[in-house]
């Protein structure tokens, strides 16, 4: 049972306390208007959202792939001490984890292809609302797409790694078991594919630019 004085609890409590103190200060000094989510969303640049999405998309996918690879790899190498025949067959599990990172890099390239420069100082007043809402929509879409593919691949990579570790250890006991437990891994890697599908759907409607 973790003690309540562990660093994680201390950090979270301090963050919550800071948030509550700030909220009460603003409310009681008649500055409640400063909590303006609409201002935050509208006045931050769409470039920030787009690039955050791209960065998080690739980096979270790679974190998932890495987590899966070290989970499976350490089990393969441990089980291979007494059963060295499992080395080659179980590389398939490592490749399933690597595929998750490939999904991430493909989506990061696809999302970043949609990102172009726009210049609001060149817009006429008549089209300002249309173009600005379009560019904001594009920025948020890229953020959402990157988040979707990043987190889905993160969870998929961890899942495939854990199942691959089980498969390696079962294979070390009885070599006919590996192919059957591979079925479970295939179900796991479908989750990353779903994330890529939704990410593509989110980013194809995005249009950044001056037109």
């Amino acid at each position: 049972m973790a003690s309540v004085l562990t660093p994680v609890y201390i950090v979270l409590t301090m963050a919550l306390a800071a948030f509550l103190i700030l909220s009460f200060y603003y409310t009681l000094t008649d500055q409640g208007y400063r909590y303006n989510i609409g201002w935050l969303l509208q006045d931050t640049s769409p470039y920030m959202w787009a690039n955050l999405g791209i960065g998080l998309g690739i980096s979270l996918s790679v974190v998932g792939a890495a987590w899966g690879i070290f989970t499976t790899g350490s089990s393969i190498l441990g089980g291979g001490v007494k059963a060295p025949r499992i080395r080659t067959k179980n590389l398939v599990s490592i490749i399933f984890c690597e595929a998750v990172a490939i999904y991430g890099i493909i989506m990061a390239i696809v999302i970043s292809n949609q990102e172009t420069v726009f210049n609001p100082q060149k817009w006429s007043e008549a089209e300002r609302y249309q173009l600005s809402s379009q560019n904001h929509h594009a920025g948020y879409s890229m953020f959402g797409a990157g988040l979707t593919v990043g987190f889905s691949n993160l969870f998929c990579g961890i899942c495939v790694g854990i199942v691959g570790s089980g498969a390696a250890l079962a294979d070390a006991q009885n070599s006919s078991l590996f192919v059957k437990i591979l079925i479970v891994e295939i179900f796991g890697s479908a989750i990353g594919l779903f994330g890529v599908i939704i990410s593509i759907l989110q980013v194809t409607h995005a249009k950044m630019g001056d037109k």
Binding site: H136, G144, V184, I191
Partner: protein, 178 residues
């Protein structure tokens, strides 16, 4: 407003110049719909991953003693995959509906989509957690006592239906117009 365009800072459309902006459709409208679509997929993916991984370790453990029961034990993994499909369906439905604010996407639709996304996502997360833990104990128990198989299936169905409730609410919400 026009002088800010020539010499002012490089704002896309700052909050002071929203005289032309329809207050039902400010430029930041799509943000909430997109967060809904992303959270539908992300949280269902987390639930499905947990279900697959937890049941998968149970299957790997019991397969050494009873290899003949592996195919029957894939059922919890399939049910966890169905949770991911619920999230996929709702996220695809929401994403196809999102447009930019000037194209008629109102704040109402945007927040409705956010609600739909959260309902299927977080329900799917909970259902996936339940399916994982029940599947793990279930396959390990079935390997030792075959009469437990039907009981495991019944409990898994109840856990799966929790994700279905989230899907139903999300579908009701996403067909709301106004």
């Amino acid at each position: 407003m026009s002088s800010a365009a020539a010499e002012g800072p490089f704002y896309v459309m700052d909050s002071t110049s929203d005289a032309d902006v329809d207050p039902l459709r400010p430029p930041y409208t799509p943000f909430f719909g997109i967060i809904g679509a992303s959270s539908a997929m992300i949280f269902s993916a987390l639930g499905a991953s947990y279900g697959t991984a937890k049941s998968g370790t149970g299957i790997a453990s019991m397969s050494v003693a009873r290899p003949d029961l592996i195919m029957k034990s894939i059922i919890p993994v399939v049910m966890a995959g169905i949770i991911a499909i619920y999230g996929l369906v709702v996220a695809a439905l929401i994403s196809n509906d999102i447009k930019s604010a000037a194209n008629g996407y109102t704040l109402f639709r945007s927040f409705v989509h956010m609600g739909a996304g959260f309902s299927v996502g977080l329900s799917g997360l909970a259902a996936g957690l339940a399916i994982g833990m029940v599947g793990d104990s279930g396959v390990r128990g079935t390997a030792q006592q075959p009469k437990l198989f039907v009981g495991m299936i019944l409990i898994l169905i109840f856990a799966e239906v929790l994700g279905l409730y989230g899907l139903i609410v999300a579908l009701i919400l996403s067909t709301k117009t106004g």
